[in-house]
């Protein structure tokens, strides 16, 4: 009863009407999050995979089955693809009860087995006793579970989730997310999760695929993406701030990164630059270390910089800081725990000392100058 299948491979391209340039895969049992802002083509991609929209060119395959291949003139209809799709607003059939909504997707079974199987799916989704209710008589969370039960009842080869948690309240969302995480351990099919919520993607997905304008920009686990974004655009889409312009300098055979009038040690990446070459660099939050004031007289520290707090916003357990770095006049942004901020006596206008860890500094690959300027602005 629990579906299994193979790897889902997607490579689709078209110039218009909705531009697409996506290339990614998702293993059976893996959860891949497609992240990107509104209008980045996430939902369009799901529709293309489900067969609801035909791309100009490309190939979509799942396990042994080819679903779409323009060179072979091959395009399976949605009915033949066996995808489980959970729509953003769930798209439950309003005139059918929860049980009948699930039954609709059981066309592959003998008619006599459908009722019992539908009940089992409802049970599995913690909807015992709600089979006779109409969608309008269910809560948002219950509707989402009926939609998920319907999608899985088909014994799909791949599960596609389009912003499945956006229509419910925070508490329900957390509970449904936990349920999805548990469900994942039981089904061995590729799962694609479309979301614009980065925290959700990081919490649930094995890997993330960053999308913009229908193009897949970078794919990897959350740590790789956050520490080594492939471009300034990816960093911006992932809500990373600390992107700066620098220059490689070499003195006495030692290569360092010049940032304004400061020079910084960098663990890797400088070897591929020529002396004097400009480079965009990035440092993740996790590699900005805030030094405690009373210990500021300690010996030399890694890439020590100082600056003045220009902005300090307390948001529950974390405090967002913006520090204008001395001698550079650039703003570094990072979060500290509110507890640490209180203990360190941080306040707006105060002076702090920081270290930018050499191993964390990431030099971005070269892009066209105009694109970089666009993102640095």
């Amino acid at each position: 009863m629990l579906p299994t299948s193979g790897r889902l491979e997607v490579a689709v391209h078209q110039a218009g009407p909705i531009p697409l340039d996506a290339d990614f895969h998702c293993e059976a049992g893996e959860l891949l999050a497609l992240v990107g802002p509104s209008g980045s083509g996430k939902t369009t991609l799901l529709r293309v995979i489900a067969g609801l929209m035909k791309p100009r060119t490309g190939r979509i395959a799942c396990g042994e089955e080819v679903w779409f291949d323009d060179t072979a003139g091959f395009d399976r209809r949605p009915q033949q693809r066996r995808v489980g799709m959970v729509f953003q607003d769930y798209a439950l059939f309003p005139h059918l009860t929860a049980r009948d909504n699930v039954r609709v997707a059981l066309g592959h079974l003998e008619a006599s087995q459908r009722n019992e199987r539908a009940e089992r799916w409802l049970d599995r989704m913690h909807l015992q006793g709600l089979g006779n209710r109409y969608p309008s008589q269910l809560s948002g969370g219950q509707r989402q579970r009926v939609a998920l039960a319907r999608a899985l009842a088909r014994e799909p080869k791949a599960l596609l989730l389009d912003e499945p948690f956006s229509a419910v309240d925070q508490v329900t969302r957390r509970r449904l997310q936990r349920e999805l995480a548990r469900l994942r351990e039981q089904i061995r099919i590729p799962i694609l999760l479309v979301t614009h919520d980065l925290d959700e993607a990081v919490a649930l997905a094995d890997r993330l695929c960053v999308l913009q304008g229908g193009s897949s920009l970078q794919m990897g686990d959350a740590d790789t993406l956050f520490r080594h974004p492939a471009s300034a655009e990816v960093a911006r889409l992932l809500d990373r701030h600390n992107l700066f312009e620098g220059r490689m300098v070499e003195s006495r055979g030692e290569r360092r990164l010049q940032w304004g009038s400061l020079t910084l040690d960098v663990a890797q990446g400088l070897e591929r630059l020529t002396p004097g070459e400009a480079v965009t660099w990035y440092v993740p939050d996790s590699d900005v270390v805030l030094h405690r004031a009373e210990r500021s007289s300690c010996g030399p520290r890694e890439n020590s910089v100082s600056g003045r707090i220009s902005e300090m916003v307390i948001m529950g357990g974390t405090t967002s800081l913006a520090v204008v770095i001395d001698h550079v006049d650039e703003t570094l942004r990072f979060d500290v725990s509110t507890h640490a901020a209180r203990r360190g006596g941080l306040m707006r206008g105060g002076w702090v000392q920081l270290s930018l860890l050499a191993s964390g500094i990431h030099l971005l690959p070269k892009e066209s100058k105009e694109r970089q300027d666009e993102y640095l602005r």
């Binding site: 609801l52 209809r77 609709v104 997707a105 309008s136 999608a151």
Partner: protein, 222 residues
Amino acid sequence: MDWTALSVSLQLAVLTCLFLLPVGLWVGRTLAHTHFRGKPLCEALIALPLVMPPTVLGFYLMISFGRDAPFGAFWHRLTGEGLNFTFTGILLASLVANLPFAVQPIQRAFEGIPANLREAAWCSGLSPWQTFLRIELPLVWPGVISALALTFAHTLGEFGVILMVGGAIDGETRTLAIAIYDRVQAFDERGAGIMSAMLLLVSFLTIGVVYGLAGRRRWRRV
């Protein structure tokens, strides 16, 4: 009481509904789901009988049913019969006159179905036909009931078009509405009164039954 006229009226109304139901479903669904260049023109043509005076519509139909006109000649070659002053003639005229009443409510109902319900049905494995029968048709059902009720009631009351095309041949084209007019012309107010009351009762019962059926559903839109 002219029972023959009542029988002609009811036959005409029932047959008009039966013929226009599939037409309304097909045209309404097509207009709701597709976008093409001439769509506003199509919609205007279908709505035309709503705004045209019935006598004008009846006049044009009478002309085109004549054996000199292309349609009338075609019909004569096909069946060997004419259309003016026959039951078939008033049925055809009634189909044209009621087209907007059948199409518009059904089209609105199809437009009200969210597009992703059809897609969800396809993803659940339903063929386009199964999707139509199990998902779309139940959802547009109130629109279909409205269309049938409007068509039925409007056909019972139709006067101008029927008179122009059919005249008032007893047992063939004299509907109850025309019989009432004849009674009044003959100063038989009592007869006209009885028949009017009968038409009122039949219309009210039909609409009541139909709306009662349409209102009996347990679900509502999410």
